[in-house]
Symmetry: C2
Subunit: 252 residues, 2 copies
DNA sequence: AATGGGCGTTGCACATGATGCAACGTCGGC
DNA sequence: GCCGACGTTGCATCATGTGCAACGCCCATT
């Protein structure tokens, strides 16, 4: 809608692929160098873009700060966190919390028992939306036309032989999930990883987030993991209750 | 430099404080509602801003993705990570990696032994720049006028009685750090936490990052922590060597 | 040393595109 | 069922962003 801003913002994903110099930015934007320069300068002033010694531009530190503040303002996450930790202590497996937003599903919290490292490497990454248990839970709550629209737009990569293959299968899966109120991913993303998940609901019953427990085959079989389902659902329900009770999105 | 983009970008930190509706955004920007609307729409198209059910705006998911890609493009971090993990396995304490950028110091990696949770809660957060060991290391490498300029611009909050109190003390501390090639923070940020840090240098000798080991008094005394200094320096030097050797910022 | 090319930068004239206004539509509340 | 608040739209004005061309700088080449 606003050409100037549109161009400026287009620079960000461009730089996300790696540093670039002024000429490259101008070319890929299809504008004159001087125009690109002014846009970059403006981005720079706001800290979204950083200029390294070789004068090339890359994404700046303020982006982290913004993403950080953004995630901290999600009250679901704040409420859920203690419950996730507790669940992790009880079962020992990796616990995820995710939300749906604008055709994307993203993790907003994670508690991992065994490898504490590189935790943030998942946050913000595109979730395998067609197979992940949390994605199914979040999409299953949309209206039927919404589900259909999204299902048709998606790609269905065959991560494994058990990945959801196409829109039809996905919609059927969503119907099942919607009906039963929980979801699984049994080796659909990585052959040896299984997940069980349950939805977190707001006061109006709408799904506001989804959580899941993941574990590799070598630790527990899929059947054993499924025995955790009651525990997972209880945890999700506890979060739902607390979230509904504490007047969501009410503070400052 | 570019008014339109400048206004649009000013919306982001504004929303970082919490969701806001169109009127609030327009007012705080000092522009007409219709102008704010178009800016928000453009931000929305790029996924930087999200519109929740109550029509209020908040920061969007794409920010996470961008911050994520940005951090992955930092090759220091990639190279350092294994070394940090190794160090953590040897000493058991929390290990940090930080860089300096545009008057800010930020953590770009962290390995925590005891509480694997909420790791990302530190990433992107403003580091206590006047007291943190990594901050001293990074600032100590700047030129004298740069150091002076920054030292005078900073605030010197007294987190504890041992916090660095003012610009003069800070500059003296930086001189010491610059001289000795390592830094500490002994209860300057939190009364019971001590840190020891060492710099990571590029091929030209400039400090490109800094790392530190942190531990609470109740686990090890400051003196015991200081015995780790050789190990910390060895790790930092190993990272420096690998970073310098592998032709930094050279791939794609 | 001297020269040439590449890249970032600046000032400027032009007109495109951003701005504020006022009017309309819609939703929610007293 | 009316009133007020808020988001939304079309439009006339002109402020602002745009591309051009010229400059200066650094590095690489001979």
């Amino acid at each position: 809608m606003s050409q100037t801003v549109d161009r400026a913002l287009s620079i960000l994903p461009l730089l996300a692929q790696g540093p670039a110099d002024l000429g490259q930015v101008a070319e890929r934007l299809g504008v004159h160098k001087s125009t690109a320069l002014r846009l970059l300068r403006t981005l720079h002033e706001h800290g979204l873009v950083y200029r390294q010694q070789d004068q090339r531009y890359r994404l700046g530190a303020r982006l982290f700060a913004l993403a950080q503040e953004a995630v901290e303002n999600l009250d679901v996450r704040e409420i859920a966190h203690n419950h996730l930790v507790e669940l992790n202590e009880q079962c020992g497996h990796t616990v995820h919390l995710a939300v749906y937003e604008e055709n994307e599903v993203l993790y907003i919290d994670k508690v991992e028992s065994r490898y504490p490292v590189r935790m943030y490497s998942r946050i913000g990454k595109p979730v395998a939306i067609t197979v992940a248990a949390v994605a199914k839970l979040l999409l299953a709550d949309l209206t039927e036309p919404e589900r259909r629209a999204i299902a048709e737009k998606l790609d269905y990569p065959m991560y494994t032989s058990r990945s959801v293959p196409n829109a039809g299968a996905f919609l059927r899966e969503l119907a099942v999930v919607r009906e039963q109120g929980w979801a699984t991913d049994l080796g659909g993303h990585e052959e040896s990883i299984n997940c069980v998940g349950a939805p977190v609901r707001g006061a109006d019953g709408r799904v506001v987030a989804a959580m899941s427990v993941s574990a590799p085959n070598v630790v527990v079989t899929a059947e054993e993991l499924l025995t955790l389902l009651p525990l997972v659902r209880r945890t999700a329900d506890a979060i739902s209750r607390e979230y509904s009770g504490s007047t969501p999105t009410e503070k400052a």
